[in-house]
């Protein structure tokens, strides 16, 4: 399945979470979303949001200030 990409770089929390929330609304269950961000708070906030809403965080990569969080959209 192709992954979708969301550019949330240079946004400060909670905006990366809000953008993720908005992107997930338009994706089908099982879809993969890669969120690109730079706010270190996103490393905590996006996984917390995923746990609450039943989405699965597959991977978190950090290279310098660039952070990439990959998640699979849950069924509800």
């Amino acid at each position: 399945m192709n992954a979708h990409d969301l550019d949330a770089r240079h946004l400060l929390c909670p905006l990366p979470v809000i953008r993720t929330q908005d992107a997930v609304k338009n994706l089908a269950p099982g879809a993969i979303l890669r969120v690109h961000c730079t706010d270190p708070g996103a490393i905590h906030d996006i996984p917390a949001w995923c746990r609450i809403h039943g989405h699965e965080v597959l991977d978190i990569q950090q290279e310098g200030r660039d952070i990439r969080i990959t998640l699979r959209v849950g069924s509800d």
């Binding site: 909670p14 929330q21 917390a48």
Partner: protein, 330 residues
Amino acid sequence: MLAAKVIQEQGIHVEGINFYTGFCVEGHTHAIRRKDRARPKRNNALWVAEQLGIRLHIVDVIEEYKQVLTDPKHGYGANLNPCLDCKIFMVRKAYEWIREHGFDFIITGEVIGQRPKSQRADTLPVVAKESGAGDLLLRPLCAKNLPPTRPEREGWVDREKLYDFSGRTRKPQMALAARFGIRDYAQPAGGCCFLTDPQYSRKLADLWQARGTRAYELDDILLLKVGRHIRPAPHFKLIVGREEGENNFLEGYRKRFLHLRTRSHPGPLVLVDGTPGEADIELAARIAARYSQGRTAPEVEVEVVPREGEPRRLRVPPLPPHELPESWVI
């Protein structure tokens, strides 16, 4: 958190709504300053939702909130905090949200007498009325001090299991939290909104005055949270990074401003907002030098980068502290 828990205990499905205005203290601030990086990087609303096992919807109200801040019907508090208008706005948004999503009523954690402006006996009914939520707005922590709302009258909620808290003390809330086994919670007393901060409000008032309008964009209000703001004259202002984290944050804005950097010595990134003339730019360079590691040197080399055109370098003596009046620092 407590209000939600009280309602959950009655077997009622609760979901949370968190409104993001741009003025929230948590979030941004921990990401910017290096000294704050050791703090726990949790978003309190998400953390609370996770503790309660409820969903949380974070709603971006940045644009709509501008009207609340720039023209509050009920005025400001001690600073530029339009608390009552803010509360009415958020309950109105929550009311719209529950109608769109098929929920029955709204709960808030308000307590009569807890806050001097938005949580008084005479202002709680104003929030219910002007938000449009009316008697679908239930305050579980002080419901017994208020007339029964529709959720109570209809028996959706057992009024006897609600509370009668009042006043500024938080002891009853803390005791209830202990009864629920809740030991960790967000700082309970305000402090979560930059608009209640006198220094922040001063910077916002200065911005409005300098522009001759109360209009603002998100970037404007984010920049007010960062750096030293120094206004030597009405037509220009400097934003001076105080440390590496702030310099990194200001880097993202440098192309939108004339900016300066000390080159002969390590020093801050300085953004210049406004319409400075040549003498103003030289003064700005001297101020940049004053905050660099060359502050005691006879001369510091400063690079001046205009928004358009080629960078150039100036050699300037750092401005002595006594030549930088306190009245310039916003």
